[in-house]
């Protein structure tokens, strides 16, 4: 892994300057992608990304790498479809292999209500540019031969939706590709630098206070995952965010034959296979709000139990590794992007369990917002003030599990 970082990806580190045009807090996918698109699309390179640990060490390195756009509301379908398309050309654009692989995503229904939901998902998706089709059990079996359509006699598969462009990519390579692309164009990335406060002039945010000293900035962007409430409070903002842990785990190696991503809303789990051959499983968020990274046995037990009803071959595998990230959950299960009402302070948060797939589009749109001062049409529905204006985007599509 180190060999990959040092020999192939050229990360150029700099001494911190005292002032930048734009300071981005959080060196994860969203922060680095915003810097990348500021540099490549808008020629703004006097930018610093500040990361308290190491780049991609938070949720960008803990997610389960699913890329998809089969959401339930038009605004979300349009936005995530943009992201799916940017991911498809990312390797070409950055000249880095991020192991992007289009796999197709099956979302299963086990009840009449589930069938209606998947049919509605397919319709909304097609209307707004995503390739999702309603499929019956026979087609499900054809797409994914591993599945037991009887659901162990308890959760029969009645049908589902098939999202053709569902894909995965190697998450840390995505982070490094954006980091390298941004750094090559002059963006500074400062690791092991913690933001301890915001510099303010009146109501305006004019920079950040770090444990390495103050840095002034024309614009400050919060691309923080997990601790955004604390950062928002520094700017005097109250946020509609609750932070919950989300766990995932992988099994030992299995024959490289599981080509799809399969999810079930009723059973609340999803499964795919990594390039190394591990079977990757994830489920719902933990119910307690928490910043703890502790994993527990209950998740493996309950998620495996559910997964085995559809995929009996899993019973012969062993759990190899389990980990936890902390997710910023918004009340309507949609992200929050844009201006905050505090001058000079922008925010991209509420990425809950669906942040990785949104990295390119989130970065691109935030960069456009910062460069032009105008909120792009694509992310205007996701503004922070939507809650006060009764324009919430309750999306059961994202309330799935990933």
């Amino acid at each position: 892994m180190n060999e990959f970082i040092e020999k192939k990806v050229e990360l150029r580190w700099h001494e911190p300057k005292r002032s930048y045009d734009v300071v981005i807090i959080g060196g994860g996918g969203h922060g680095l992608a915003t810097a990348y698109y500021l540099a490549t699309r808008h020629g703004i390179t006097n930018v610093a990304v500040i990361e308290r640990s190491y780049i991609g060490g938070g949720n960008s390195g803990r997610n389960t790498t699913v890329i998809r756009s089969n959401y339930g509301v038009p605004e979300a379908v349009r936005f995530y479809q943009r992201s799916v398309e940017l991911y498809q050309t990312l390797e070409q654009e950055t000249d880095r292999w991020v192991m992007h692989k289009q796999k197709g995503l099956l979302w299963l229904a086990h009840t009449e209500a589930g069938l209606r939901a998947e049919r509605a998902r397919a319709e909304v998706n097609q209307a707004f540019g995503a390739k999702t089709y309603f499929v019956g059990p026979d087609e499900v079996k054809k797409i994914c031969p591993h599945i037991d359509l009887s659901g162990a006699g308890v959760w029969p598969v009645l049908g589902g939706s098939y999202h053709v462009e569902g894909a995965t990519a190697r998450h840390d390579r995505v982070v490094w590709a954006f980091a390298e692309g941004a750094m090559r164009r002059g963006v500074h990335v400062h690791q092991r630098t913690a933001v301890t406060g915001l510099l303010k002039e009146g109501d305006r945010v004019v920079g950040v206070q770090t444990d390495q000293g103050p840095i002034s900035a024309g614009a400050v962007v919060s691309a923080v995952g997990g601790h955004v409430t604390t950062l928002g409070a520094m700017a005097g903002l109250r946020l509609p965010i609750r932070t919950h842990p989300l766990q995932a785990y992988v099994t030992n190696h299995y024959d490289l034959s599981f080509d799809q991503i399969v999810a079930s809303t009723a059973l609340l789990f999803y499964v795919s296979q990594t390039a190394r051959g591990e079977i990757l499983l994830g489920a719902e968020i933990d119910r307690q709000p928490s910043y703890s990274y502790r994993s527990d046995h209950h998740l493996i037990q309950s998620c495996s139990h559910r997964a085995i009803t559809l995929f009996p071959f899993l019973r012969n595998l062993r759990v190899l590794r389990q980990w936890t990230g902390v997710c910023d959950m918004s009340p309507d299960y949609s992200p929050i992007m844009g201006k905050t009402g505090v001058e000079g302070f922008y925010i991209t948060t509420g990425w809950g369990t669906w942040g990785f797939k949104a990295i390119p589009a989130g970065g691109e749109q935030m960069a456009q917002l910062i460069a032009t001062g105008e909120t792009p049409e694509l992310i205007a529905p996701f503004s922070l003030d939507r809650f006060a204006q009764d324009r919430t985007l309750a999306d059961r599509g994202s309330a799935g599990t990933h």
Binding site: R238, P240, D286, R287, Y291, S292, H298
Partner: protein, 81 residues
């Protein structure tokens, strides 16, 4: 189980038996009644540290429990037991 909730009636029980109940804390600085309703509905203190919280023991005694828990470590620092 990563988190055990001390129930005064049932003892230490796994968190999966409970439903989380938020204790809304609208800041005193918000005085307009509509703004207070809005804040109570949507905004979260989401502290990194000790918070007061309520849990409903769905799969147990079916009563409400109040605890103080540190959200950084999941340690229950005081309870109503």
């Amino acid at each position: 189980m990563s988190l055990l909730i001390p129930c005064p009636h049932c003892g230490l029980r796994p968190v999966t038996e409970f439903i989380y109940g938020e204790v809304p804390e609208v800041p005193d600085t918000i005085t307009d009644p509509d703004a207070r309703d809005f804040d109570r509905s949507f905004m979260r203190k989401n502290p990194e540290g000790v918070q007061v919280e309520r849990w409903f023991h769905t799969f147990g005694c079916r009563r409400w429990v109040t605890i103080h828990r540190d959200t950084r470590t999941d340690e229950v620092v005081s309870d109503s037991a």
